[in-house]
């Protein structure tokens, strides 16, 4: 599944394009707990989260995130988006909840990251 398909499925808005939306997303993790995310990202993953602080972007320095989807219409502030720009990290925002967004992607065939 590509980021572009994910954006369409979630009726999302792109906040930062990064290297483009044609990149393939192999798997995903959904969580609002940073340690959970760190523990679950053993391979390049899409992150779905309700967290919008700078530490979510900092996470991408530690583990391989192919993009972040912010749920429930939560928008990171400009300086956080700027941090993502510096890292070439795609950001998408959706009005859907974490549960619904995850369910839609799962049903469309996007598997969970290996723990």
């Amino acid at each position: 599944m590509t980021l572009n398909e994910i954006k369409t499925l979630l009726d999302g808005e792109v906040l930062n394009l990064g290297p483009g939306l044609d990149a393939l997303v192999p798997c995903a993790i959904a969580s609002d707990m940073i340690s959970d995310i760190l523990m679950s990202c053993r391979e390049p993953s899409l992150l779905l989260t309700g967290l919008t602080n700078n530490q979510v972007i900092r996470l991408s320095d530690m583990v391989d995130l192919v993009g972040i989807v912010f749920v429930r219409s939560k928008r990171p502030l400009d300086d956080i988006v700027e941090m993502a720009r510096e890292r070439n990290l795609p950001l998408i925002v959706t009005s859907k909840t974490l549960y619904t967004a995850s369910g839609l992607l799962y049903n469309a065939g996007l598997r969970s990251s290996d723990i």
């Binding site: 609002d32 707990m33 940073i34 340690s35 959970d36 760190l38 523990m39 990202c41 053993r42 989260t49 967290l51 602080n53 700078n54 530490q55 979510v56 900092r58 320095d61 530690m62 583990v63 391989d64």
Partner: protein, 165 residues
């Protein structure tokens, strides 16, 4: 005074040798980690990962080092009155050392239990406080040493080998 050790059995000899007679590090770095400053927390771990990447450390080892280092750096910011993160890089391993200014861990064994957390509201707002920090550090390290007592500073140090010796 409480003390905790966890060493991968197959690496016990190498770890003991390192701690009993540490050689001179190839590179040494130091980062201040202020209390509750989540704007800067994590920068040290990012810089260390960047440097090791340039030095050619493989991606899986890099991930383990970054995760263990970041969790420990966040612990300093979230749970202590601030402290210092020191990084010593050798030919075959990295030694990370986190020394804070208190208030100390009352029961280290309890702190190691997944899900146990003393994080306050601010820390939780940032997405920390899952009670997985120390277990995650242990999972990704080849050797972990913690020394602490209630009312005093905590020393957490870990070793990760670049490839099995």
């Amino acid at each position: 005074m409480g003390e905790y050790w966890n060493i991968k059995p197959e690496l016990e000899d190498s770890v003991k040798q390192h701690f009993s007679a540490p050689p001179e590090a190839e590179v040494e770095l130091e980062f201040e980690v202020p209390e509750k400053d989540f704007n800067t927390a994590g920068r040290g771990s990012s810089e260390v990962k960047d440097l090791l990447k340039r030095l050619g450390v493989d991606s899986e080892t890099l991930r383990r080092i970054a995760v263990a280092s970041y969790e420990a750096e966040i612990n300093l910011a979230a749970h202590s009155k601030g402290g210092v993160m020191s990084c010593m890089i050798y030919d075959d391993l990295i030694h990370l050392r986190f020394l804070d200014k208190g208030p100390g861990i009352e029961d280290i064994t309890q702190a190691m239990i997944p899900g146990y957390s003393t994080a306050d509201e601010l820390v939780r707002e940032f997405g920390f406080g899952a009670g997985l920090g120390l277990p995650n550090i242990q999972k990704n390290s080849d050797a972990l040493h913690i020394q602490s007592a209630k009312g005093s500073s905590t020393l957490l140090e870990l070793l990760i080998f670049f490839s099995a010796p």
